[in-house]
């Protein structure tokens, strides 16, 4: 598809400049895309490992929780865990991955517990020991869960960016560049055509003039 433009030399110059720019942009975007892909793949790998690890630990913790839930009344269970003892203070900053701004979490354990083991917000008389184990695992898992959230969000944003870049690359590659080059060719041909016809006309005129004399 060529554009509807006047096949003038000025237009040709303008289009050539645009084509040049498009080709350069295309190359840059392609590089960006490749780099993004590389980063993304690293991130995904990390994400996968993290997720598997979290799931591996979360599954038994949830199973234990379920069993504790079975031997404790709903009321006792809710009472036991309604007031968490440890708190995570979460600060969100930005990190720049190839000009994609992903959130970066930093956290700090706060409140209640003195010492490592002091994470249980309930008394021991009315609670099941099965709850202890699941609370301990969940508490250990918390930093990993936060990291997982961060990595997953970054991967998500990165995937968006890759998609956008890929679309731009494609648009340049398959639409704009062919269009421009075709138009350029068309104008060039048009101009050459005009030149040739002017030349022929000139030769004709020359012949006529020569024949008269």
């Amino acid at each position: 598809m060529r554009m509807r433009v006047n096949p003038t030399r000025m237009e040709l110059n303008r289009l050539k400049k645009r084509l040049n720019m498009a080709v350069r942009g295309h190359r840059l975007l392609k590089d960006k895309r490749d780099e993004l892909m590389r980063q993304f793949i690293d991130l995904i790998k990390h994400n996968k490992e993290l997720r598997e690890e979290v799931e591996r630990e979360l599954q038994p913790a949830l199973a234990k929780f379920l069993l504790a839930r079975a031997v404790m009344s709903g009321e006792s269970m809710e009472e036991a865990i309604m007031f968490p003892k440890t708190r995570f203070d979460l600060a969100v900053s930005r990190q720049n991955i190839m000009s994609v701004y992903a959130p970066k979490f930093s956290w700090e354990k706060a409140g209640g517990g003195q010492g490592e083991g002091d994470i249980y917000p309930y008394g021991f008389a009315d609670t099941s020991a099965e709850l202890d184990a699941s609370i301990a695992t969940l508490s250990q898992l918390m930093p990993k869960l936060l990291e997982l959230a961060q990595v997953e969000k970054a991967a998500d944003l990165l995937a968006d960016e890759i998609e956008k870049t890929r679309r731009r690359v494609n648009a340049l590659e398959h639409v704009l560049i062919p269009q421009l080059s075709e138009t350029v060719r068309y104008i060039t041909m048009k101009l050459e055509e005009a030149e040739r016809s002017a030349l022929t006309r000139l030769m004709k005129v020359k012949d006529i003039v020569r024949g008269k004399t």
Partner: protein
């Protein structure tokens, strides 16, 4: 002889009520049911028929249990002769409500209605809530008021939800044993209960590697195994506990419970055996025709039955294998 006529009516009435508890066959049928809905169908043929009929969603089966608990306590309040008996048995629900309300206050939000016992405890929930609204605890029974004040004093220094539980649990057991002073059977029961809680607490504190000071704080004072017994054992390995308790009535509970802990790292069996121990203790006395034994037994049996149903329903809803459910099932009273 005065006791005879005091208890004769209530004991006879409870004998009829005992007939309506689930028996082993019904529990087994629930266990073998395919899925939660079918398990519920077994219940529909029992005392729970109307409650099951009203239940719209299987996942809300806790409503059924809460409703039954409330119904039983309401009924029993009408004819149990000794007020102290019921006060002692229902005291744990007051303490539960207090814990929830205190924690909700600490969090600065309303306590969800689902996790309170509105009509089971000795103090109506509305009255408790009013006390919290006005921050005026003068109407609380002395032992609870003291506990609330102690919690309030500690809270300003270090807000720790665990303290709420610990102080109230301790106040509860002190109070229970004081209440039961004139009813020897009840006193014996609560002493066993406090001992078993203390043994379990000791094991948990060891497993969780909390320090000795903490152990001193969480142990209940009610049992007849003295606190120093546990603190002395604190630095010994857990096996020593088995040896030391070998001649106590809890030998089997501790031995089997700890054997499973060593093997699989959980106290499931211990908890089951401890519950069974208490149930069997009451059950072995329940044939006494004129005394509190059968009355205590009935309420314990109801609470035990609700626990049984809960274990089965949670198991069925989450598609746990039947063995896994069976491991946790408590004995049946009747």
């Amino acid at each position: 002889m005065a006791n005879d006529s005091k208890y004769a009516y209530a004991v006879a009435r409870v004998r009829v009520l005992e007939n309506r508890l689930l028996d082993k066959g019904q529990v087994d049928r629930m266990l073998e049911a395919q899925g939660a809905r079918e398990a519920l169908q077994v219940l529909a043929e029992t005392n729970y028929a109307s409650a099951v009929g009203e239940l719209k969603d299987v996942h809300r089966f806790e409503d059924l249990l809460a409703g039954e608990l409330e119904r039983v306590y309401r009924e029993v309040r009408r004819f149990y002769p000794e007020p102290r008996l019921l006060e002692a048995l229902a005291a744990k629900y007051d303490v539960h409500n207090l814990k929830v309300l205190l924690k909700a206050q600490g969090l600065g939000r309303e306590a969800g209605g689902d996790i309170l016992y509105p009509n089971v405890g000795n103090i109506p929930l509305a009255k408790l809530e009013a006390m919290f609204a006005q921050e005026d605890f003068r109407d609380l029974p002395p032992h609870l008021r003291q506990a609330v004040e102690e919690i309030g004093a500690g809270w300003s220094q270090r807000p720790d939800p665990q303290w709420i539980d610990i102080i109230l649990d301790r106040a509860l057991y002190d109070h229970l044993l004081a209440l039961a002073d004139t009813i020897p059977f009840l006193k014996e029961f609560f002493t066993h209960q406090a001992n078993l809680v203390n043994i379990k607490t000791f094991i948990r504190v060891k497993i969780l590697r909390q320090d000795e000071d903490f152990l001193k704080k969480v142990l209940l004072r009610g049992g007849d195994i003295h606190q120093s017994f546990f603190t002395d054992l604190y630095h010994e390995p857990l096996e020593v506990l088995c040896d030391r308790l070998a001649l106590s009535p809890y030998a089997q509970v501790v031995n089997e419970g700890l054997a499973e802990w060593q093997e699989k790292g959980r106290l499931t069996r211990f908890e089951k055996l401890a519950d069974d121990f208490l149930l069997n203790f009451v059950r072995s006395h329940r044939h006494h025709p004129f005394g509190p034994q059968a009355l205590v037994g009935y309420l314990l049996a109801v609470e035990n039955e609700l626990k049984l149903i809960r274990i089965i329903m949670v198991g069925k809803l989450n598609k746990l294998p039947p063995e896994e459910i069976r491991e946790r099932l408590r004995d049946v009273y009747v």
